[in-house]
């Protein structure tokens, strides 16, 4: 698993520019599904044929990043965020553009207070000293992702972009484990989740599944001084009850909980006030689709050191496998 996670998390794929990560995923699953295609917005859709219910599982391929907006005369790149990027987490990080060019994220030294930190006071340095030189590598509109390695330590994966490459890894793992299925399963690797759940809705509109489950990461409440939240790393798959965008459909939620109990799969319940995942745009499209979520608890979300528990990931795979094989 760690090798798969490392490869997925290390591949370039910010929102709206998912071509490279899509290529990597496509290679991993081609030949293992009955249908494999990319839709207009760039969602990768892999279908295992069956005669039962049509079930959609969605994990987003895109990751947060930064977009170059302006090149200074002395070569520094001004930028803005793609998705929920924290100025504080970005400081001192390396970013990498699609062409491999790396830059350091720095800030205007006159700034005294961290609260004054915002993207318009920050810049990316790629080591050039003129606009012309920078423009040889980077133009306004080019998007970079954060750069950080992937490690496994104490039963945990630590990496950038586990949100949501860990979800992609879960789907790939499931595709590998499944042989014949009774239900028809659409595994959808979605685009533009981080900028507003945009890909999942259009994919679901075309697929029109009977049930849908978003497979994404979720915040935890188990670190020093964090806001109260009863989700912990290592306590199992998180069955979504509600988040800021979706109230899980009873059909999906109850079935997941029943299956977890029946097969003795460790799970916890996810009740979140803010934020949302792909279920948010899936459940209101095409006349309404009963939707829910199975989440992988994740610390330090949207930072270069997101952390998930390997055991939780296994439980998520187990639970989803039971779900898509269930014939009731």
């Amino acid at each position: 698993m760690i090798e798969l996670v490392r490869e997925l998390a290390g591949t370039y794929g910010p929102s709206g520019r998912e071509d490279e990560i899509r290529g990597v995923i496509r290679k991993k699953i081609s030949g293992k599904v009955d249908e494999l295609y990319t839709d207009t917005l760039g969602n990768l859709i892999a279908v295992k044929k069956g005669n039962g219910k049509r079930i959609m599982l969605a994990a987003h391929m895109d990751e947060i990043g930064v977009v170059a907006t302006y090149i200074e005369e002395n070569g520094f790149i001004r930028f803005s965020n793609i998705g929920g990027v924290s100025p504080v987490f970005s400081l001192g990080q390396r970013v990498r553009f699609a062409n491999g060019v790396c830059g350091c994220v720095c800030y205007e030294e006159k700034l005294k207070e961290p609260k004054d930190l915002n993207f318009s006071k920050m810049f990316i340095d790629i080591g050039t000293n003129s606009r012309e030189r920078t423009m040889e590598y980077v133009s306004p509109g080019d998007i970079a992702v954060f750069e950080a390695g992937t490690i496994e330590q104490n039963g945990r994966y630590i990496s950038k972009a586990l949100d949501d490459r860990i979800g992609c890894a879960v789907l790939i793992e499931l595709i590998g484990q499944l042989n014949e299925v009774k239900n028809e399963i659409a595994f959808v690797f979605t685009v533009q989740e981080e900028v507003g759940l945009r890909g999942a809705g259009t994919a679901a509109y075309a697929i029109k599944p009977d049930l849908a489950v978003a497979v994404d990461v979720t915040n935890t409440g188990d670190t020093p001084g964090c806001n109260p939240l009863s989700i912990e790393l290592g306590k199992g798959a998180a069955v979504m009850i509600k988040d800021g965008r979706t109230i899980s459909h009873p059909l999906v939620k109850n079935k997941l909980i029943d299956l977890a109990k029946r097969f003795d799969i460790q799970y916890q319940l996810e009740v979140i006030e803010k934020g949302g995942n792909d279920a948010g745009s899936i459940h209101t499209t095409a006349g309404g689709i009963p939707s829910g979520g199975v989440s992988i608890p994740c610390r330090y979300m949207h930072s270069p050191c997101e952390m998930v528990d390997a055991g939780d990931v296994k439980n998520v795979v187990k639970l989803l496998k039971a779900f898509i094989q269930s014939e009731d």
Binding site: R22, R26, D39, Y70, E72, S80, P140, T202
Partner: protein, 347 residues
């Protein structure tokens, strides 16, 4: 085109009350002999081009403008109001407005400076403290002319000034409407629907509905966008500059431009020597946001005419920017079938 734009900016069409603008545009497309329809929410959809079977393009420009809506009449006959769409409340004091179907003239008032507390003088005036004065002597008198729910639009006549500049209200997005009215006259080698949308300023609502009906492969949104080439704004905070050509948006808060379209528009501008610029800030949004996620997804791009003092009665654009916006969209669309088949797969 500039004459059309001037006429369009004289018409009032606050979001939700676009009828007069639609009428004007409808008459024009009737003259061109184009098939058209108005949908339930009020979008005017005009069909142009031939059905070649493999590419359907949607053009969108919104008819509505920011304005006010009357929500209370005081005992002494003053009108209280809410904002329709977003703007800086500081621009309101002292403005002339026209209210309702009868275009009742009014002025926006605020207590005079010697009556303001120190705190009030130093901070932006709040919407709730402003009122519209129509010269009525009391509520009963005001009610003869005004009813609750009437829309009020800025009253601001278009004026040419400086070199090639036009000052007017509602350039956002009558500029786009004027461009569309030119483009529908062209001969298109594919199916093209020009959508004059409603309620953009209050949440991209009309475009959501229009896109669902048209179900295009590709959409080009033509907008008026912010300009920030004004004193005390430094290089990287300037969204666009007036007079430097149409602005292409790579990303804003509602949409990410399709990369094939973005490259095609950029290379078309370079090949045809049409000046263009990047919209350098990623704030704001437009109809592209809703069109992109319509149905099973649509490839989108937004091309904008830079406008200074947008969402105010004194917006300013450069007439060459307007002309070049039309040229860029026209040239890029005409060559679109050469580089792009609407149903092509991504991989």
């Amino acid at each position: 085109m500039i004459r059309t734009l001037i006429e369009l900016t004289k018409i009032d069409g606050v979001s939700g009350d676009e009828e007069q603008v639609r009428k004007y545009i409808e008459e024009r497309v009737e003259k061109y002999g184009l098939e058209h329809m108005t949908d339930t929410i009020g979008n005017l959809i005009v069909r142009a081009g031939e059905n070649s079977g493999n590419l359907k393009v949607m053009l969108a420009a919104h008819m509505d403008e920011v304005g006010l809506i009357i929500n209370h009449i005081t005992d002494d006959g003053k009108l209280k109001f809410a904002a329709v769409g977003g703007f800086d409340t500081r621009i309101l004091t002292g403005q002339h407005v026209r209210i309702g179907d009868s275009k009742i003239p009014g002025v926006i008032g605020y207590k005079s400076i010697h009556l303001q507390e120190k705190k009030e003088r130093e901070s932006a005036v709040k919407l709730k403290d402003l009122y519209i004065d129509i010269g009525a002597k009391d509520r009963e008198d005001a009610e003869k002319y005004i009813k609750l729910g009437d829309f009020a639009a800025f009253s601001s006549e278009p004026v040419f000034f400086g070199k090639n500049r036009l000052k007017a209200k509602a350039l956002d997005d009558r500029a786009g409407c004027a461009v569309l009215l030119e483009l529908v006259k062209e001969k298109w080698p594919f199916e093209l629907y020009a959508c004059f949308t409603v309620q953009e300023e209050v949440g991209l609502r009309g475009a959501t509905v229009a896109a669902k009906r048209v179900a295009p492969d590709i959409a080009v949104v033509i907008e008026g966008t912010t300009c920030a080439d004004v004193p005390e704004v430094s290089g990287h905070e300037i969204s666009t500059e007036i007079g430097k050509g149409p602005a292409l948006t790579f990303i804003d808060r509602t949409a990410i431009a399709d990369s094939i379209l973005l490259r095609h528009f950029e290379s078309t501008a370079k090949k045809e020597s049409i000046p263009f610029q990047w919209k350098q800030t990623v704030s704001g949004g437009n109809d592209a946001g809703k069109i992109q996620v319509s149905g099973s997804g649509v490839r989108v791009i937004a091309v904008s005419v830079p406008c200074r003092y947008i969402h105010s009665p004194v917006s300013v654009l450069d007439i060459y920017d307007l002309e070049n916006t039309k040229e860029l969209v026209k040239k890029a669309l005409l060559t679109l079938p050469l580089v792009f088949d609407g149903r092509q797969k991504n991989d």
